[in-house]
Subunit: 391 residues, 4 copies
């Protein structure tokens, strides 16, 4: 689809072009290829066009050396610094193309000992050599292979009007297959997982080895443990859905108990917490990151209250992750989406279609949305995963 967009853009910017070569990949695995000569009114005009073409993945043939400039102070960037996308990115440095490590959107590229590293603004140190301009930078947009799998068909559409059970089966199959080849899966979850009583299913997925990383906040852990200790989530009996007299105190009592023993890990080890999401994470040594928010009570000792530290930890933990399941959480979904490279499979579950739309709007184009209730989604998914894994 990119070819006519390129031609369009050139015309929109009042440039001209000549198509020199044009090959469409005839086999399903082939990529297409086009060579175009672009004419601008003058060098400045031509550069403007090339700059925009670059962003669409066009390779500017003269492989010029990337330009860098030192950061004048910590967190202060040189003018015209290059802003990253979430696509695979290379810079042309001393005659060869170097892949940028840790790519994510809306960051900068720093050149360090021949390596190209993607950093957020707040991690740039005085003197870091920051890439400026587009020269010598090349990005490779995600190639959609022609032979679309069942999984891929779901992309690019958000709809509540699809066969929900079937879609869950497709996701379950993808999860099982990914784990079979050693892939890694992260789960991003909001507290509704507890309120809707889908917690046992998530705990089961962790226990059975289908989750490699859990990203969440204080509330998920608090209510998960509240269920373990009191049988309630935000004071509501999770077996009957009825509010329990005095139940409103349970989440604070839970927090206090966990603080008293020094954290979730200790609480599990002391046998205070005997089931649930956090219990399985601790027991199976699955890493988890709980990022703080201004809405938190407590918080639990494991919660990282400085959001920039939490974000940096999340980015580090996401390295090597192949798939992310986002469960009923808008803030965390968008935050994690910002940290992901474009080739990570991203599935977003929410009853509100606007959450998925916003995630995609904010640049996580690879996200697939399933508009459904996490309270039924997770139990159904877990049942399907077990069924497929054992077949």
């Amino acid at each position: 689809m990119i070819f006519p967009k390129v031609l369009d853009l050139i015309l929109d910017l009042e440039g001209e072009f000549e198509i020199v070569e044009f090959r469409i990949g005839k086999k399903k695995e082939d990529y297409s290829y086009a060579r175009i000569i672009v004419f601008g009114e003058n060098e400045e005009h031509l550069n403007l066009i090339l700059k925009e073409l670059h962003k669409m993945g066009a390779k500017i043939p003269e492989s010029e050396e990337v330009e860098v400039s030192p950061a004048p102070e910590d967190k202060v960037l040189p003018d015209n610094f290059y802003v990253t996308t979430n696509n695979r990115t290379f810079i042309h440095h001393i005659g060869k193309w170097v892949e940028v490590e840790g790519i994510a959107m809306d960051r900068v590229i720093v050149l360090k000992n021949g390596k190209a590293i993607c950093l957020p603004i707040n991690e740039v140190k005085k003197g870091d050599l920051v890439v400026i301009g587009e020269r010598g930078v090349r990005i490779i947009p995600p190639e959609r292979p022609r032979k679309s799998t069942y999984f891929e068909f779901m992309g690019g559409k958000v709809s509540s009007e699809r066969p929900t059970e079937k879609m869950i089966e497709i996701i379950a199959r993808e999860i099982v297959e990914l784990k079979r080849v050693g892939g890694k899966i992260a789960v991003v979850a909001g507290p509704a997982v507890n309120h809707t009583a889908a917690r046992d299913a998530l705990a089961g997925l962790i226990r059975d080895g289908f989750v490699d990383l859990l990203l969440s906040g204080n509330a998920l852990a608090v209510h998960d443990i509240e269920i373990s200790i009191f049988g309630t989530s935000l004071g509501m009996d999770i077996k009957s859905g009825k509010p329990v007299p005095g139940g409103n105190r349970h989440h604070l009592y839970t927090i206090s108990k966990i603080i008293a023993v020094g954290g979730i890990k200790n609480a599990v080890e002391k046998g205070m917490v005997r089931d649930g999401i956090m219990f399985e994470c601790i027991r199976k040594r699955i890493p988890f990151i709980l990022a703080g928010s201004i809405r938190d009570d407590g918080p639990l000792p494991e919660v990282i209250t400085d959001v920039m530290i939490a974000k940096a930890e999340m980015k580090k933990a996401l390295e090597g992750i192949d798939m992310v399941l986002m469960l009923a959480t808008t803030l965390h979904s968008i935050a994690v989406g910002n940290l992901l490279p474009s080739w990570v499979k991203t599935i977003c579950i929410d009853t509100n279609p606007a959450t998925v739309m916003k995630l995609i709007d904010r640049g996580t184009y690879q996200a697939i949305g399933v508009v459904t209730d996490v309270g039924l989604f997770l139990p159904t998914l877990y049942a399907k995963v077990k069924e497929i894994a054992h077949s």
Copy 2:
């Protein structure tokens, strides 16, 4: 709760009162009782207050004869005609209280051969004796028994943050118990039941005898039969969720085929349609009403295209129904809600909480909302119903 509201109202209208008697039911089954003397500034003022009190269920002691006036023309009502609520209603006629038949909100009461009949405006005929004013009319608001069942706790709240599976179990139990005592259940369903592939579950509920009436529209039937004939719903393969090439024609081809054989019933009998919602309705002789809308293609021969006729048929069919399940349809839910007496158990399933809020806002106060995906709700419900029925 009504007692202080009554006192409040009197004060708001600048009346005065004296509490003569006040008994709270001490056992859980008892009702409470209060006797109040109300003072107004003059008769007109007093009548205004009594009029308002009447609407809250207060019984005005002097059981005056109900007042009626003849309709001057078909559909034309006498001044000051009485507008019904959906509560149980009696009129005081020739010294005794007569219950109004066919009560529903926003209608009028007509006195015919000693009977009191609730009619919509468009069914009033010239000369019908229409009740006017509030005199001699008594309404009984739904009494909430103190001993609340699990089912009842769910009322009055719309939330997506509740244990979905547990709530479905409660609904399933209610359905099974209702059928055991000979109760009757109606289903109001939108076309999303097909798109989300929950159709087999609804067909199963009908086949197993849990549905006594189906209220829907053209689209539900068309896509249900489209699945039966083509395996697609609105052109999307229901097994894979993928659009099928040329699938956009399937629903029109379906309509044409059904028209050609003279309707759904014939299509089932000729073996053209061999499974699904409509198939089970026909086979099990479960009555269904398909009401037309301006969005309809076709429509199928069984669709009633005149909405006032459809509405009258729906009202008639709903007589004796004890429970209504409303599945993913805003227009039909509100329309059916308007036709229901307040004592019919009403459960509304939708991914959008606004649908349930609107239903309640429009006067169907008894509605219980479950904010979830019908595509998972129905299969889960059907599984639970079977499990409970066989235990």
Copy 3:
């Protein structure tokens, strides 16, 4: 964008191709042009490919005569009948291309006295010559001119995160300019226009000549007149937003009064109704169509209770309309969207982004969504329209 899609499709269907000619329009007003030779494995295979290409707007060069077959019965269609899109469509009949009249999606084409007419299934009569297959049918997708106006930029996206006031100004400018060149504008409105008190603004737009057709239902008219007679909408005082004691009866009293005088027109002429949306329509002789729904009380005499008749009237009235404003109504928006050719400018206003998404999903691709509150949208729009019209 269509060119690579065409090539893709050919490869997907395992065909081969050769690009003979390829011209991109160099000036902004030009259209692009490509000539491709397509190879299939055999005639059947080639026809399959051409059938799919046809749907994308490709012109199959050998202009074969269109094929027709007579309808065996009223509403019964011959096998393999052609299903229309909402794009401009031509059939090749006796050596020339004839444009199909009254095009709309999901209908059939009937050949009558050399004319090609687009009909819904239910209007097909026994013996009508219905187009079958794709041969000899050509559709022209809407051409997006390169020189996009401010108006067009808004297309294809639904977002609540845009400069609302600016967008309204753009719509206002489009309305004023359209009326200056003699264009025609239809308004499709839901009852929320009354409840949110935006009614005066809509009445103003009608009075000032910016509306040529009003499509709505019973509720819009009832509450509009309720405001005129009682100052309430569904019993809520429109000046204060407070419910009025006894106000729940107002809409039935309104209906009864209007039925008694024989309809809205008579009520306006007798001076019973002195302002509002319906008043301005009657006074300015703006045609309106009120389509019935199963939710209606009454209904008012002007309401068309048979939905198929209402739909046919709506289709007829929409002829020659250049722009449609859809205001806070899901059912009517989608119903009217189905009746529109793809070149009619369509703007859909709703607080719920799902309404616009559904409209587009159902095939009204040209729809532009503005996610905002009609209660503020209409007054702001009317103010802007007046400002621009007088400048």
Copy 4:
């Protein structure tokens, strides 16, 4: 309304009662009063009943001394600690009732030098005397005065179907009147205020002295300043709504520029930022708190990245605030709602009714929801405020 609830509760808990005295306030300003003798089966049973009655605002006559127990460690609470509501609360200490300072929900009460202070768990220090149990604690629920103002009628309902312009006028009147008597108003705002171009109106309200505190996050400030420097919000031209080529870099360039000069304040003082929300806050010395989130880029130097510090600062700044306007932000609205006493007027503006429902669900019962588009709400509100202030 509370009286029958009390009786109900006693019966539900299987207690018995005798009504000794019962006085309804006859004038509109009066409060009602009831004296009830409660019987339990034994002391334990009676205490259970009294505990629950206490939570409903019932005053248990024997004014026992409040019980306290020292915190064993920092952040570790004694067993059975008292959990606060957001209502006005007193403790009975050495024979007199002492009001709890800084009340907010889900916190604890600490007794310090004869003062009762409400603290979050994480601020409790080892040895602090923490109130335990309910004995000697009395809460006063917000009294709804009988003479409801226009403002109050809006409470307790969330609906998009109300006269929006009229409701804004009521809010505007409340704002102007509150400022006339020296009241204080806080604004909690999300970044949509910028994207929808409502920023000028908010800046105007600040400039004209109607805002005493701004609570928000990094994104609001970044995009506000992005508009000031680049004329875009998230890269979209705020005058046309069109995306600007290269605009995606603007927000990072903005952040970098502000970091380089040492913060927003410096940027304003150096003339880099010449208009907008932050500009007016700085110029008018209106305090603002920007709380960090894991979604933040940068962040700007003024952003507090530790959420617990941010929360503590917000609580401190909210002291003495009489009214809070929450504009299009779910997370911040709920977080601020948790910090507010129940007597602070709270208005929540969002296009999504679920935001307001969640706010109320989480205990901010006093919140009034207006379901509308902030992009039109703020300009309309600002215009009305100016109009009313100058009349």
